[in-house]
Amino acid sequence: MIKSLIITHGNLGHELIQVAEKILEQKLDIKAIAFDWQGDGSDMIAQLEKFIATNKGHKIIIFTDMFGGSPSNIATRFVNKNVEVLSGINLPGLLKFFCYEEKSINFKETIKIVEQGAIEGINIISEYLGEKK
């Protein structure tokens, strides 16, 4: 089973989860951690360590809001064969993750699918319409 958490600047992660839960009309099994603007990241590291220890034996995906940002940089320290980080998560990517029914089968494949969903969710609308016409 894949366990997930989202770590972001401010409450972005909480908000994304709330919106996804509203759209999917279900409670989602994902934890959000907000980066403390005043802190040095040690609190986030401690929370990540605890989450990973609590979910030992599971694959873990950590969604972050932006590659290169502190939450993403901190999460990067924990990457190993059981823990992956997907940076720049957005609403389509999050929805893709929770709607992808085969996510327990292949960890790496699931992450690629979610990445693709997130990327495909970004469109320049006039170009999109142009392609459709």
């Binding site: 759209i23 009309e25 709607c99 969903g117 969710g121």
Partner: protein, 89 residues
């Protein structure tokens, strides 16, 4: 394979919550189910796929289903459209 023409009658069209309900319902059937709108054809079991149609109120789409429970699937999905996705009184 059977198909049915369906007009979108809810005000917000195939928006996120409607698409979520539709894909959730479609996933309850064994049949392969597709939505066809203009030149696009998407898997009705995919929430993000449905959203790419950007279909609005008044638009006409075609429901297609093939499989052992295709008739039940079309009836149920058509009902959801006609109930305005249970989002309007």
């Amino acid at each position: 394979m059977i198909e049915k023409t369906q007009i979108i009658i809810n005000k917000l069209g195939l928006h996120a919550r409607a698409a979520a309900k539709l894909s959730h319902l479609a996933n309850m059937f064994n049949a392969n189910i597709y939505l066809v709108y203009n030149e696009d054809k998407v898997n009705a079991k995919s929430l993000l796929g449905i959203l790419t149609l950007a279909a609005s109120v008044g638009n006409e789409i075609i429901l297609q289903a093939s499989g052992d429970d295709e008739q039940e699937a079309i009836t149920a999905i058509s009902g959801l459209f006609n109930r305005k996705f249970d989002e309007e009184s």
